[in-house]
Symmetry: C2
Subunit: 311 residues, 2 copies
């Protein structure tokens, strides 16, 4: 029987995890984007529902559409026709990996719908073309959205991503302040050059973070989350962040930083109780700065993108 419709889900993710600017991403359970891909008579890709009114229906400007086109192109399936309906669980310009999740869910759905058999590397390649168009050529949200868990982007060209171990009891606090910060604005404040000594200090923190998560060494983790390059440049654009980070650490977080290009902030904790306390502390700190903020405590999504419905 021909498959007419496939619905796929991809989780949101923390990009730029701590010192891992552009190179470390972590998939977060319980939130994400869902894309339903339906066979269409007409060849090519259409976006029938972009998910949010602010998102374009032009398939060349929506990451789900671009990723779907790239999947068809890479699989030499240009005669296939598909229409996409997107359910956005992730905020726009939120630092939650929303553009990546839409691209990945779409790529996985289209790959499954037509039985194209592209492997994870090719799917990532297709999604990278989409992410590049809207947010820049980086894979630190795409890779965890597709693979789940913590992923190191060793290289973008050629694309080489490495799944890394994460302790079973790591929990994540996410704070979503009612702010908007586009990736373009957040990129504009980054230094183009950094002192060599600072670069190696950052590299040491990335290595320590990876080692701490591999060994469930919580004390080391608490010394490894600080970011010397992106966070200092971006914090001034995010009213309340510095206070919220301070409050998170005071409440027992193992570390905290900006998720992706922000405004979402994250903190690492190691228990449900710590999570609740840190979440409230961050919300209250943003509140004192006059910024409304929603908070959530989540596990790591260890599965990544998956088909959730065949029809």
């Amino acid at each position: 029987m021909t498959t007419c419709r496939v619905r796929a889900f991809a989780p949101g993710s923390i990009g730029n995890v701590g010192p891992g600017f552009d190179i470390l991403g972590l998939a977060v359970a319980g939130w994400g984007d869902t894309v339903t891909a339906t066979r269409a008579d007409r060849a090519g890709v259409a976006v029938t529902d972009p998910g949010l009114p602010d998102l374009p229906t032009d398939p060349e400007r929506h990451t789900s559409g671009i990723a779907a086109s790239e999947v068809l192109r890479l699989a030499n399936a240009g005669r296939c026709g598909v229409s996409l309906a997107v359910e956005k669980g992730l905020p726009l310009s939120g630092g939650a990996g929303g553009s990546a999740a839409s691209a990945v869910a779409s790529a996985v759905a289209v790959n499954a719908l037509f039985g194209l058999g592209l492997d994870a590397d090719r799917l990532l390649e297709a999604c990278l073309a989409a992410e590049e168009r809207v947010a820049g050529r980086h894979a630190d949200n795409l890779a965890p959205a597709l693979l789940g868990g913590l992923v190191l982007v060793r290289s973008v060209d050629p694309l080489d991503v490495v799944r890394l171990p994460v302790p079973a009891d790591l929990r994540i606090v996410l704070a979503h302040p009612a702010q908007r910060l586009t990736t373009a604005e957040a990129r504009a404040v980054l230094p183009s050059m950094v002192p060599r000594a600072l670069a190696m200090r950052q590299a040491a923190h990335v290595a320590a973070l990876v080692a701490a998560l591999a060994a469930a060494d919580w004390a080391l983790l608490a010394r490894a989350v600080d970011d010397f390059i992106a966070e200092p440049a971006r914090a001034p654009l995010l009213p309340g962040f510095v206070d919220a980070k301070r409050a998170a650490l005071d409440a027992g977080a193992l570390g905290a930083s900006i998720s992706g290009a922000g405004p979402t902030a994250f903190a690492f904790v190691r228990s449900v109780e710590d999570g609740d306390r840190v979440a409230r502390a961050m919300r209250d700190a943003y509140g004192r700065a006059g910024v409304d903020c929603r908070v959530r405590v989540a596990d790591v999504d260890r599965v990544g993108a998956r088909v959730v419905e065949w029809g």
Copy 2:
């Protein structure tokens, strides 16, 4: 019975392991410096044998003397008197961690001789004062010389070093070309600023290297040893290096780079047979460039500094 004499050994080490400039060091088995510390009537530190004619007997200019003085100072043992005799197993200005090994062996010997009870952190602190005086304030040779194995220097100020896992069958090829390159010369060619994207590419490689060694992932290791900051700047100072690296990789090495500030070069291999083949290939490549070269194949030293004789 009072201990009159303690002899301690500290292994040589690869500093700047691959992309881990200033932050990753690896202790190498079977070579190192040995220091005999003997009680003396007169308070303070004397160097009776500096180990090599080119090394100073002034205890303020020999790393063994400086480290010994710092150990006595940190332990409030300024009235103690000690004389040091150094046996240099490591070359001068060789990129083999010789200044660090002399400092560490001395610190361990003096600590044991007087039963001072300084812990590893304090010993490292004492040795850092010595290394700073002769080679710069970095700990990527000191930490493996003291602790053994692979060590990440997360931070120098405050000093924070992390022992990392290394596969049991990792072997190291060391090539010692008949060249001299001082740390000062090798430092002078380094860029003081690096592009942000390059910094994060380097950080990704450090993280990949750490992850590869933790998981014994040889394929990943082979993609993670390249250094984008120090090696490109220093290779032109080291005739034959580029060819020897190429030869090592062609002969099956998993990666190769400069050890410390050079001229020693290293390669990673995973078997005795690969080690022998890679060692010969590197020696021959230096030879074709007109550079005499000794080569050795070694295991990781997993013990670090140790007392080898009490008297």
